[in-house]
């Protein structure tokens, strides 16, 4: 079925529809990863977004049962150059087309995704729509669209739930978490309690966890103001590790500012330098906002990681408290495992802090 991708700036790309047949609108972004479309599409940080894959052949490995980063993805659309007709991987259970149909996400193929990407690179991310007819009406609808500000609410859990383990007790505050964060913690035997984003500091302190993980999630960190109080209420009292949106919230809670990037970092070839050691890791990234380096109060926060090309702040550590955060995904999925040692550091931080505090470790 012939369909169109239209952009806020008036561009029209004709292509072939796949996945759900509905009309969709959202913020269009591009991802440069050459593998891992299943993880990307199911990553809730893409809530409300139409994802363009710069790699032209998508769907080659189908969709499998293991690689979901959430069960019900809320991306608004998928844009590809060339959709595989036949999959070539033993784990494939269904095609990408079938999956998107089931999840009610429209896709469009046959798009000059490089031209589109270059457009987004020069103009910045913008609103877009996948429609049946690229007429004035469609553009009017697109212009009228107001992007939602309650994205975290849309995707995060509303109820606390456990993911039992036998080790350290970690409270995971879900802003739209990727399963890979839970997998990394579970791999380290953590006993997890996943909490809604509305959780308060007092409620967390009542649970008395060994550590708190602030997860990734969609949208503008400033749309989640209540979380800042929560963070301020627990930092110093419980070791803290923030990832992606969790990192931005940690920064905001400590007086720094964030800004919207022109077209963000979405892919997994971003080299990040750990300033203390000089070590460089290739990191999986998905963020449209970043921490403003000039806004950081050096008495509060220390920049620990930077992207080596554009010097984006990629990691922070609190000067006084056992708390750190990274802009990228050490949990990878998709992407390199280079930075998974940060989860070990989180474990060590919890152990060190809790020993000092004289707490009895549950896993000991």
């Amino acid at each position: 079925m012939k369909r169109y991708l239209i952009l806020e700036d008036g561009s029209v790309f004709a292509g072939e529809g796949f996945g759900a047949e509905s009309v969709t609108t959202g913020e269009i972004v591009f991802n440069t990863g050459m593998s891992g479309y299943q993880e990307t599409i199911t990553d809730q940080s893409y809530n409300g977004q139409i994802i363009t894959f710069t790699y032209p052949l998508i769907g080659n490995a189908g969709i499998n049962r293991d690689d979901y980063e959430s069960i019900n993805p809320t991306a608004k659309g998928v844009v590809v150059k060339n959709l595989a007709r036949v999959t070539g991987n033993w784990r494939a259970q269904m095609s990408l087309d079938e999956f998107l149909k089931r999840k009610h996400i429209p896709g469009i193929s046959g798009i000059d995704t490089r031209a589109l990407t270059k457009r987004l690179r020069s103009v910045g991310t913008m609103k877009a729509s996948i429609v049946d007819a690229a007429d004035a009406h469609a553009f009017d609808q697109l212009k009228a669209l107001v992007l939602p500000k309650n994205q975290v609410q849309q995707v995060a859990t509303t109820q606390a739930y456990p993911a039992p383990g036998t080790g350290r007790n970690v409270a995971v505050v879900d802003f739209g978490l990727k399963h890979s964060i839970l997998r990394e913690l579970a791999k380290r035997n953590c006993n997890l309690t996943i909490l809604p984003p509305t959780i308060t500091a007092a409620e967390i302190l009542d649970l008395n966890p060994d550590g708190v993980m602030l997860t990734n999630g969609p949208g503008d960190p400033k749309d989640v103001p209540d979380a800042l109080d929560m963070i301020r209420g627990i930092e110093g009292k419980i070791p803290l590790f923030g990832i992606c949106l969790g990192h931005q919230l940690f920064a905001l809670a400590n007086g720094a500012d964030t800004f919207k990037m022109k077209f963000g970092h979405r892919g997994f070839n971003h080299p990040v330098r750990e300033i203390a050691t000089g070590r460089i890791d290739f990191t999986s990234q998905n963020h449209g906002y970043a921490v403003d380096p000039d806004s950081i109060d050096p008495d509060q926060l220390l920049v620990t990681h930077v992207e080596i090309n554009d010097h984006t702040v990629e990691g922070l550590r609190h000067r006084l408290y056992p708390a750190f955060s990274v802009q990228f995904h050490p949990d990878a999925a998709p992407g390199p495992h280079d930075a998974d040692h940060l989860f070990d550091e989180f474990m060590e931080m919890m152990d060190a802090f809790n020993n000092r505090e004289g707490k009895e470790l549950t896993h000991a």
Binding site: M34, A84, T87, N89, R114, I280, P334
Partner: protein
């Protein structure tokens, strides 16, 4: 980390002659590395025996030695130059092995020379099977169960334990030489014995066969600060079992989930870190298609063919970065030259798909064993870039130049279903075509996957192409379909066939309806950052990124994939032409399809179009670029063949006009010219049918030289001795027609020689004459050539000069040309004129100091040669004697006869230079790994009419201390001449195979074998030659070559004379 200041002078080892498994990619990597080191301020000393390389140009290094890559010669250079360090990792396996040999000899320690990039221990760990196994065990990286066998019994014992099939890999051989898959005890015995012989350490690895697994490659880099990264990953279309050099390869990987990609990435990085490589490394892995199980197949601790491919596939210059890392720089302080916005510490992201298809020599070796296995057989490869897999694949297919512009060949259509299935089951060079044909016959993806083990995802891409064929047939002149077909890589000529129109009709219609290609940039970052790389590929989409500049431009056509007869020499000339164009102030644009070469390094030209060299693809680029003209003289037959169709489309061919190119190549027109000039040539004629050929043959008298017109590298050329043989040749070797006539010529015995000449239409510069060692009958590309000629009289030289000048003028040549002569009884005859650069350009350029391709390009661009200081005639002879010697790859190719003849068979060349002919010859033999000890035993088995000469030759070998063994007839002739000789039984006499045993047991140090066309001797001789090749015993199939080596031995020996 800043670069090292404690070293100043670095020796770079090149890879020597081109052989199968080690080709032009090392010229590319070597050139990059040398330039990178110079850029960092180091003094670079280069040694390589291969003159046909850009890297051996004077500008590339501070000191260039074209000397044999042997311990003796390189040690001498080390003592003379006293470098601080050696960079051994860019000269392929040859470079690495030589570095190890030098280190083991103690000279590096003695002279305090350090190995850069990869430490000796790492080379050992990656190359020595046992150490490699230990390392992998330590890293918990799985490798297939294996054992090291030093003899057959050890191999057999191991296989009794784990069962068949097993793979046999000889240690320390390149391109998997001598390896194979054994499915039973007989095969095991054959392969193991062969492998042990070829392995310099007499070791073979016997391992569990994992044939059928997905074959994945990772190109990884690491620096001294332990930063490590992946430049590119690739997935083979052919599952494990076919050497990766012989596989169709896609980049990046296609059928893996991210989980699998990251698992293999982790393994690859773990290995490069454990080996502490400072530079590039290639890791080959096998992934079970139905589980997460994987094995490490092989690690190459150096730049490789795959790294050249990865560099071209991503735009990331691995060899250049590897050289910088080797001197201490780290990835995060080197700028990525593609973007200039990012650092070299950056994993490239592709937004296109790359297909590589190997180019095999079986068009030349029709009797060769076309089965593919663990031993590489391809001589070259093509790469194509597209935005769909179908597009990349079909572009690569038409870049191959195997007579197919599409996945279709008549041959496959003629197969029975059973034959077709066999072609799919057993990997072979044309499997891709067989699969396409099977889909045409209604085979399903599942069936073909079952037969071939090839992943269904890939097979669907071929099925899609076949489905589009059907749609095209059913919907003639459908514009939407036309666009879809173009997006999927269909050539105009293919669509034209289905629509019963001409390719021009399709082209015109496309242009009228706006279905034209766009050109996208290769930028390493999938468009995320702005780049200005002048590196483009075509596709059918919406946005073109290549912008025509204001400067006047010249388009140079490259020479496509490396094949026998069209080697790296043509890339050399192409690159030089580009340099001259730039110097003349024009923008130089290159089109080429070969990922191995220097010409496809985007920093060489002002613009690189990585495209197949077909008329459609070239015209498309011309539509966009509107160049002043096109230069076709340097890209071999590939480019020259495009001259006529380009001119027909109104494109200006620069230099010699199309009409004159035709006059040189068209036999009748050429005959007329040569008659008018009164230049002698062997009597001959052109026939368009069998009867005509026989008439000519009978008129001239036998033997005659017969070949098809418009030939490349003497393809299908033969000397035939009778009418019956001629008739047989016509039936067997060629399809004669009006379009494809056959040339029948008188065969003159004499000394062959050739010249290259440069002319602007007035001045005719002849840089030098090259005299061939082997008499006429051996293809010039397979002959040893000597500069200057050693025993030509002034009169002969004057004739050569005179004829060359006359021909240049009569053919209105502008640019470069090559003329082959034969000197018969002091009379010079013209055999052939090629109105283009020949393979001797690099050799002659180097020995005469005239940058011939550059001078020729200046002439083509309208410069007066006289203004450049040149006059007409042969240039004064330069001091020294220089020998160009051919190098063959017979040990890689089963069932290919090593007997030299009018068909070219060599894959590469070396050069030996010294003060005397004998010394130069010695070096040339050493450089081509034809090493003869001072004494030993030589076997003679020669044709009847060679016996007299053989006797004289044997006498000389006896004098320097050789024992002679000969077959009955030859022995009798020698005995009669009073030469002490041991007779050895001919093959088959009472089931005898004493000769083969003697060769296999290394009891012979030299085999001299010539044959007449008599079939029985041929097959006996064939076995003897094969055995000699297999066991690495020097083999001479021309008495002239044997004479040359006798002279070398004589020059090195004292004479011992009894009173």
């Amino acid at each position: 980390m800043p670069k090292r200041e404690d070293i100043h002078k670095i020796l770079v080892i090149g890879s020597g002659p081109i052989i199968i498994g080690q080709a032009a990619e090392f010229d590319y990597s070597g050139t990059q590395a040398c330039l990178a080191l110079k850029e960092e301020g180091y003094e670079v000393v280069l040694v390589n025996s291969n003159p046909a390389t850009i890297m051996t140009d004077k500008e590339i290094a501070d000191q260039v030695y074209i000397e044999p890559l042997t311990k003796e010669f390189v040690s001498q250079i080390l003592r003379k130059e006293l470098p601080d360090a050696i960079l051994p990792t860019i000269g392929g396996q040859i470079g690495l092995n030589l570095a190890m040999e030098l280190a083991n000899s103690g000279i590096l320690e003695e002279l305090h020379i350090e190995l850069l990039g990869t430490k000796l221990s790492a080379i050992d760990q990656a190359e020595d099977r046992e150490l490699f196994k230990n390392l992998m065990q330590k890293l918990h990286e799985p490798i297939p169960e294996s054992t090291i066998a030093h003899n057959y019994d050890e191999a057999k014992a191991f296989v009794d334990e784990i069962g068949f099939p097993v793979i046999v890999r000889p240690a320390f051989t390149m391109g998997g030489t001598g390896g194979g898959i054994a499915k039973n005890a007989d095969q095991l015995a054959t392969i193991v014995e062969n492998g042990l012989n070829l392995s310099p350490v007499t070791q073979c690895l016997i391992e569990r066969s994992i044939a059928g697994y997905k074959e994945i490659e990772f190109e990884v880099m690491r620096d001294a600060a332990d930063n490590a990264m992946v430049v590119c990953n690739m997935e083979n279309f052919d599952p494990v079992g076919v050497h990766t050099g012989d596989s169709v390869v896609f980049a990046p990987v296609q059928t893996l989930t991210d989980k699998e990609v990251q698992m293999l990435r982790d393994a690859s990085l773990k290995i490069i870190r454990a080996l502490k490589i400072e530079g590039g490394c290639n890791v080959q892995l096998a992934l079970d298609p139905i589980s997460f199980k994987y094995y490490i197949i092989e690690v190459n601790p150096r730049v490789s063919r795959s790294s050249a491919l990865a560099s071209k596939a991503t735009g990331y210059p691995i060899a250049k970065m590897a050289a910088k890392i080797a001197v201490g720089l780290t990835l995060d302080e080197i700028k990525n030259p593609i973007t200039d916005a990012t650092y070299a510490e950056f994993e490239p992201m592709l937004d296109y798909v790359v297909a590589k298809i190997p180019r095999f020599p079986f068009d030349k070796f029709e009797n060769g064993d076309r089965t593919l296995g663990t031993q590489m057989k391809a001589t070259g490869e093509v790469m194509a870039i597209g935005r769909t897999a179908e597009e990349a694949l079909l572009k690569a297919v038409r870049g191959l130049e195997v007579g197919a512009v599409h996945l279709w060949r008549q041959e496959d259509a003629d197969f029975t279903d059973q034959e077709l299935s066999d072609k799919i089951i057993t990997p072979n060079d044309m499997r891709l075509f067989a699969i396409a044909e099977a889909f045409r016959r209604g085979y399903t993806i599942a069936e073909i996957s079952e037969l071939s083990g090839i992943n269904e995802f890939f097979l669907d891409k071929i099925l899609h192409i076949i489905e589009l064929e059907d749609q095209l047939k059913a919907n003639v002149d459908d514009d939407d379909l036309l666009k879809i077909a173009k997006e999927n890589g269909f050539a105009d000529v293919t669509i034209a066939k289905f629509w019963h129109e001409s390719a021009d009709d399709i082209r015109d219609h496309r242009k009228a309806t706006g279905i034209v290609p766009v050109y996208k940039m290769v930028d390493t970052c999938a468009g995320e950052f702005e780049s200005t790389t002048p590196y483009f590929y075509s596709t059918y989409e919406t946005e073109t990124e290549s912008v025509r500049s204001d400067r006047e431009s010249i388009l140079v056509l490259g020479s496509g994939p490396i094949r026998i007869g069209q080697g790296v020499e043509f890339d050399y000339a192409t690159v030089h032409s580009v340099k001259a164009i730039q110097k003349a102030g024009y923008e130089a644009i290159i089109m080429n399809s070969n990922p191995e070469t220097v010409s496809t390094d985007f920093s060489i030209s002002d613009k690189l179009y990585f495209e197949p060299l077909t008329i459609e693809d070239v015209l498309n680029v011309i539509d966009l670029e509107q160049p002043k003209g096109v230069i076709v003289q340097f890209g071999g037959q590939t480019a020259i063949n495009l001259a006529a169709p380009l001119a027909a489309h109104g494109v200006k061919i620069l230099g010699t006009s199309l009409d004159d190119l035709d006059a040189a190549e068209d036999r009748d027109r050429f005959d007329e010219i040569i008659k008018e000039l009164k230049i002698p040539q062997p009597v001959g004629g052109t026939a368009t049918d069998k009867a005509g050929a026989l008439t000519i043959g009978n008129k001239i008298g036998y033997p005659v030289l017969v070949r098809p017109s418009y030939v490349l590298g003497g393809r299908a050329m033969e000397i035939v001795h009778s009418e019956a043989e001629l008739a047989n040749y016509i039936d067997r070797a060629v399809s004669v027609s009006n379009d494809h006539p056959v040339l029948v010529d008188q065969y003159l015995v004499g000394t062959e020689c050739e010249v290259d000449a440069i002319t602007d239409g007035k001045t005719v510069v002849i840089p030098g004459i090259m005299e061939h060692i082997e008499r006429a009958g051996v293809h010039s590309g397979d002959s040893m050539a000597v500069y200057p000629p050693q025993d030509f009289s002034d009169d002969v030289k004057a004739q050569i000069e005179d004829y060359t000048i006359k021909l240049a003028h009569a053919l209105h040549c502008i640019g470069i040309m090559n003329i082959q002569f034969i000197v018969h009884n002091s009379q010079v005859y013209v055999i052939e004129v090629n109105p283009r650069a020949s393979r001797t350009v690099p050799f002659l350029s180097k020995v005469t100091g005239v940058a011939m391709a550059q001078v020729a390009t200046q002439a083509i661009l309208g410069k007066d040669l006289s203004a450049l200081g040149f006059g007409t005639g042969i240039l004064p002879v330069r001091p020294g004697v220089h020998v160009k010697a051919p190098v063959f790859s017979f040990s890689k190719l089963n069932a290919v006869d090593s007997m030299l003849g009018p068909e070219m068979k060599s894959t590469g060349e070396v050069m030996g230079s010294d003060a005397t002919l004998e010394k130069a010859l010695y070096k040339a033999f050493e450089a081509s790994h034809t090493h003869l000890p001072a004494f030993g035993t030589a076997l003679f088995t020669v044709a009847d009419n060679d016996k007299a000469e053989a006797v004289a030759l044997a006498k000389r070998f006896r004098e320097v201390g050789y024992q002679i063994v000969a077959t009955a007839g030859t022995a009798k002739a020698m005995e009669e001449a009073g030469i002490a000789v041991t007779a050895i039984a001919k093959l088959g006499e009472n089931g005898e195979n004493a000769i083969l045993d003697a060769i296999a047991d290394q009891k012979l140090q030299l085999v001299v074998n010539t044959t007449s066309a008599d079939r029985a001797t041929t097959s006996d001789g064939y076995l003897i030659r094969q055995t000699a090749i297999m066991h690495g015993v020097p083999l001479m199939t021309s008495l002239d070559t044997a004479n040359a080596i006798a002279s070398v031995l004589e020059s090195r020996a004292f004479t011992t004379t009894a009173l």
